[in-house]
């Protein structure tokens, strides 16, 4: 499924035009389930944080679910995913167990990093999830390195490096863009533009606010996508994946999205109005969009409630596990420094 080169305007960023291709009912249901899992998981994490069961930093993904779920639908087994510190959603979308993620949040031995990484540092070699990185922008170079390795090995896997509008201003992002295009590395740069780099709005931090254009000086094609519509994300992901697998080099996708919660649990989000958040929740919520389409297609409330119930059970079980599981054995302090 190679994308003809001419379909991509390399001179400028592009907005996706028209409405995205429809999902099948099965796709809608799968997307709904995966997004709901993330939403409920994050709500629970927020609760546990409030109770003091989760410490440190905790960055919730609520509102942005369509981005990672749509992208994941465009990938195949063996493709790699890497992201920054707002990473719980990515891990769940990659198929990592809720129990292991939640137990890592509570710093328990059953966590993905045995309790030694925490919210921002989880990995799963099995699910090809490469973290979970706490330094803003670092994952962009690392993700480019994953693509380098695919190229070196001559396989057809692609790597997806997620980062935000804030990280987009880091120098190493452009160093990576340059090398990725120079060496035609199969990497998709997904810029999750949620409008705020912590408390600084895009317009106050970025000279070029159209992030799909950030690769122009390196000849990397880019597209601006409605990141609240999981179908649009999946369609864009398909196009980018085909471009990368076809040996054409990197691709940039700006996902226009929104986070409902603060930057982290300790952020009261005074830099935006309650009305702004409410408006997006009401008009654009990624989960409600799918739910409404399914209802319009005559899927019963009951069927949707069953999905919600299944997801709640997984999340509740993970919260239970994460609070019952013992803390790491003290000897673990000294393990895993070297191998």
């Amino acid at each position: 499924m190679a994308v003809p080169k001419k379909s991509v305007d390399k001179e400028s960023g592009q907005k996706a035009s028209g409405s995205p291709p429809e999902f099948t009912k099965a796709q809608e249901l799968a997307a709904l389930r995966d997004m709901l899992l993330i939403r409920r998981f994050e709500e629970k994490a927020g609760q546990l944080y409030g109770m003091g069961a989760i410490g440190g930093f905790c960055h919730l993904y609520i509102g942005q679910e369509a981005v990672v779920v749509g992208m994941q639908m465009a990938l195949k087994k063996g493709d790699q995913v890497i992201t920054g510190y707002r990473d719980h959603g990515h891990m769940l979308a990659c198929g990592m167990e809720a129990n292991g993620v939640m137990a890592e949040l509570t710093g328990r031995r059953g966590g993905y990093s045995k309790g030694k990484g925490g919210s921002m540092h989880m990995f799963s070699m099995e699910k090809n999830f490469y973290g979970g990185h706490g330094i803003v922008g670092a994952q962009v170079s690392l993700g480019t390195g994953l693509a380098f390795a695919n190229r070196y090995r001559g396989n057809d896997f692609v790597s997806v490096a997620y980062f935000g509008d804030g990280a987009s201003n880091q120098g190493q992002v452009y160093e990576s863009f340059n090398m990725a295009e120079l060496w035609k590395l199969p990497v998709i740069y997904v810029i999750e533009n949620n409008r705020y780099a912590m408390g600084t709005s895009v317009t106050r931090s970025s000279a070029q606010t159209d992030f799909s254009k950030r690769g122009i000086s390196f000849n990397i094609p880019g597209k601006q996508i409605d990141g609240m519509d999981v179908r649009a994300v999946k369609a864009a992901g398909d196009e980018a994946v085909a471009w990368c697998r076809g040996g054409n080099g990197p691709f940039i996708l700006e996902m226009q999205t929104y986070r409902y919660r603060g930057h982290s649990m300790s952020d009261p989000a005074k830099y935006r109005t309650r009305e702004e958040v409410e408006k997006i929740r009401t008009d654009q919520d990624p989960i409600e969009q799918v739910r409404n389409r399914l209802l319009a297609a005559k899927v019963s409330e009951q069927e949707l409630k069953a999905i919600d119930a299944e997801v709640r059970e997984i999340v509740n079980a993970s919260a239970d596990f994460a609070q019952r599981d013992p803390e790491p054995d003290p000897f673990e302090l000294w393990t895993d420094v070297y191998r």
């Binding site: 990093s113 670092a138 170079s141 690392l142 190493q172 452009y174 990576s176 340059n178 090398m179």
Partner: protein, 467 residues
């Protein structure tokens, strides 16, 4: 008065070179800017341009002469109105040095301030080793090679052995290495495995770490470790910590290597010793060898190690020769110091180029009847505390020697360990000889003052010996 043309220096550390070819004959007219000769070192060929006008009077060093010392007169130029008869006169006052430019077509523009040209000539190797290295079987044939060659051989051998090993960095491929350490690797292994990067240390360090996370074994060359400061976040936060943060799931087998510390006359931003910086980080291994054999055996070990390894080289030592065992697979274990010279009176502890001062000081001390034991740490992390302590228990006195700064330095760490483990054996406080607590100055005299000296090591050893 005839003007003398002197043998030019091509790099801060060059001391001599070969006069390859004369492009002008005696009696020929010379204009400023004319290329009059070609000179070469073990890593580069350069053109010598005239800076004066006149006639080439006499060629003093014939072409094909090897090892011509820098500043040796190589020819005389007669000014207008002068004739061959003037050649007998005293040498001209203050001859202007010729300018050089590189001949090699492969040269590429590199950022300002990066020393592209450096050709330390072959010099006598470090002082003879008193004790044979325990890892080498008796009777093993030894070959003499430069440290530069030893490093290249180590990389080439490991690349032949393991297809996942590759080299990336600035000028490592087509240019053959800014310091010619990767010479010939592109020709043998091709552009897939010997990769020229753009000048983006932060970015390519991250790309290397990412590739290592997915299981490849990169050798990332920094043109010098000074430039690795731009990449230090990826080295420490990504490479060193990920194994721990992932609960042992995801490691990173990668070598970061390149020249570290002071070269010669390149001033503060290009003359820093990072031994102490990296050796503080759990998750990293840090190696800083001195002898050619150790450079080879330890680089091979570093490439095979499943952890991130910082391999600190020294530009001044690149051209030094040493005996390297001719073995199919000469790998020296990481983390073992070597007693280079045995003695009973005082222990001198150093590594990398610091060993130059320590060994010369030991020779001086011997003349005064003080038998110094000299330990080459070779690896800074993990540090071979055992060897240090055993020696100090024997001698009761210790002096550390390093080119880096004293505050929070490796010498401070060694002194603390000696205090912790051998306090009752000490007959005097541990003394530290180090680089002075200033940025490296450019002026030749100030630079000498900023670095440790043999005399300082001798004085410190005598002070702790109460002599």
């Amino acid at each position: 008065m005839p003007i003398q043309v002197l043998m030019p220096a091509l790099s801060p550390t060059m001391e001599k070179g070969n006069l390859a070819k004369w492009l002008k004959k005696e009696g020929e007219t010379i204009k400023s800017g004319d290329v009059i000769a070609e000179i070469e070192t073990d890593k580069a060929t350069m053109e010598v341009e005239a800076t004066d006008e006149g006639t080439l009077g006499r060629i003093l060093i014939p072409e094909g002469t090897a090892d011509v010392a820098v500043n040796t007169p190589i020819a005389t130029i007669l000014a207008d109105g002068e004739s061959a008869a003037d050649l007998g006169k005293a040498p001209a006052a203050a001859p202007s040095p010729s300018v050089q430019k590189e001949v090699e077509e492969s040269r590429s523009p590199v950022g300002e301030g990066k020393p592209m040209i450096s050709a330390p000539p072959t010099r006598p190797g470090p002082a003879p080793v008193a004790e044979p290295d325990p890892e080498v079987p008796a009777g093993t044939e030894m070959i003499t090679q430069t440290i530069r060659e030893a490093l290249r051989d180590a990389m080439a051998e490991e690349m032949r052995r393991d297809g996942d090993v590759f080299v990336m960095g600035e000028e490592v491929a087509e240019y053959q290495g800014a310091y010619k350490v990767t010479q010939g690797l592109l020709q043998e292994f091709g552009a897939r495995r010997v990769i020229d990067t753009p000048i983006t240390e932060h970015g390519f360090a991250g790309v290397g770490v990412g590739a290592a996370m997915s299981g490849l074994k990169p050798i990332v060359e920094f043109m010098t470790f000074n430039f690795a400061m731009q990449a230090i976040d990826q080295i420490i936060n990504s490479a060193a910590k990920t194994l721990y943060m992932s609960g042992g799931q995801m490691g990173c087998s990668i070598v970061f290597r390149g020249p570290n510390g002071a070269a010669a006359r390149v001033a503060a931003q290009h003359s820093q010793d990072y031994s102490a910086w990296y050796s503080q980080i759990p998750g990293l291994k840090v190696i800083a060898p001195f002898s050619a054999a150790d450079y080879k055996g330890l680089l091979k070990a570093a490439i095979r190690d499943p952890n991130p390894v910082i391999f600190l080289e020294n530009e001044v030592l690149y051209g030094h020769t040493g005996e390297v065992p001719k073995l199919d697979d000469y790998v020296i274990p990481i983390g073992k110091a070597r007693i280079v010279r045995t003695g009973k009176d005082v222990t001198l502890i150093s590594w990398s180029n610091g060993m130059t001062y320590a060994l010369k000081a030991a020779d001086e001390l011997a003349k005064e009847g003080i038998e110094a034991e000299v330990i080459d740490l070779r690896t800074l992390r993990p540090m071979d505390t055992e060897t240090i302590i055993a020696s100090v228990k024997k001698t009761g006195r210790a002096v550390t020697v390093e080119e880096g700064w004293q505050q929070s330095g490796v010498g401070a760490e060694i002194a603390a360990r000696i205090m912790e483990h051998a306090f009752d054996y000490l007959d005097a406080p541990v003394a530290r000889v180090s680089g002075k607590d200033v940025p490296m100055p450019y002026a030749a005299n100030l630079e000498k003052l900023a670095l440790p000296t043999v005399a300082e090591v001798v004085a410190a050893a005598k002070a702790v010996s109460y002599r």
